[in-house]
């Protein structure tokens, strides 16, 4: 399965890009995806972030069902 991943703020800075297509072997939960991302971008390990699936912040146990837009959201700073 593959899906769209979006990076914002300091995470886009670390990844060096703001969008990419994620190719996962099989089905993934949010928590499994998080582990894969941290493997790919070790500098994200000490950053706080939440993961949104289809624009909704999702817990680690939630399965990612395609088509999905997955986003890594660092702490909010609006206002």
């Amino acid at each position: 399965m593959s899906f769209q991943v979006k990076y914002f703020g300091m995470l886009a800075e670390i990844a060096g890009l703001s969008d990419e297509v994620w190719n996962a072997g099989g089905e993934l939960t949010v928590g499994q995806f998080r582990a894969q991302v941290l493997d790919k971008y070790p500098a994200m390990r000490d950053k706080k972030f939440k993961i949104a699936v289809n624009r909704k912040i999702s817990e680690d146990f939630v399965p990612i069902e395609i088509p999905a837009e997955v986003a890594l959201l660092p702490p909010f700073a609006g206002g």
């Binding site: 703020g9 949104a52 624009r55 909010f76 609006g78």
Partner: protein
């Protein structure tokens, strides 16, 4: 749902006709919130003036967020460069609007937030609520600002000094 929609016909001032049309639809289109660059005091004045024909209003509460020149390691903050997950943010603003209209007796509500660079001393957030009575205006204003800070995916890069350094901002 019906109640919320029939109240909505009365809410908004500048979009009144649009709202009337929308009463036939199942969902409401989100209103435009993001503004490129700082929010101008003139824009605030025009927003206020546009509510003078709504003679049921007794109280307006306005909140403005202004960029502080906080001291960081590399110098003072010279501005904040805002980005957002825009589609999710628009949805979050829409949800906050709907919740506030349900919770408080409001006549009008407007929310504007900057994207891009806002220099120190300038305004990046403008929350404007109007009600027949002051209590609802005060409470809604606080509620909306707290909700925005907690729930809207907006990101801020604090530009420090004159050397191109930056620090990522985090709401408390």
């Amino acid at each position: 749902m019906y109640l919320s929609k029939s109240r909505r016909r009365l809410h908004c001032c500048r979009h009144l006709q649009e709202d009337n049309r929308r009463t036939m639809e199942k969902t409401h289109k989100p209103k435009k919130v993001f503004i490129e660059g700082p929010i101008n005091p003139e824009f605030v004045a025009k927003s206020i003036a546009s509510h003078q024909s709504k003679t049921g209003i007794g109280a307006h509460a306005i909140f403005l967020g202004q960029i502080r020149a906080d001291q960081k390691e590399g110098g003072a903050v010279a501005g904040i460069d805002y980005t957002a997950y825009e589609e999710m943010a628009e949805q979050a603003f829409h949800d906050i609007r709907e919740a506030a209209f349900t919770k408080f007796e409001l006549t009008c509500m407007h929310i504007y937030h900057s994207l891009g660079v806002v220099p120190t001393g300038e305004i990046s957030l403008f929350v404007f609520v109007s009600s027949p009575h002051r209590r609802a205006a005060f409470e809604a204003s606080e509620y909306i600002v707290e909700e925005i800070k907690a729930k809207v995916p907006i990101f801020g890069k604090e530009l420090v000094g004159e050397t191109g350094q930056h620090v990522w901002k985090e709401n408390r």
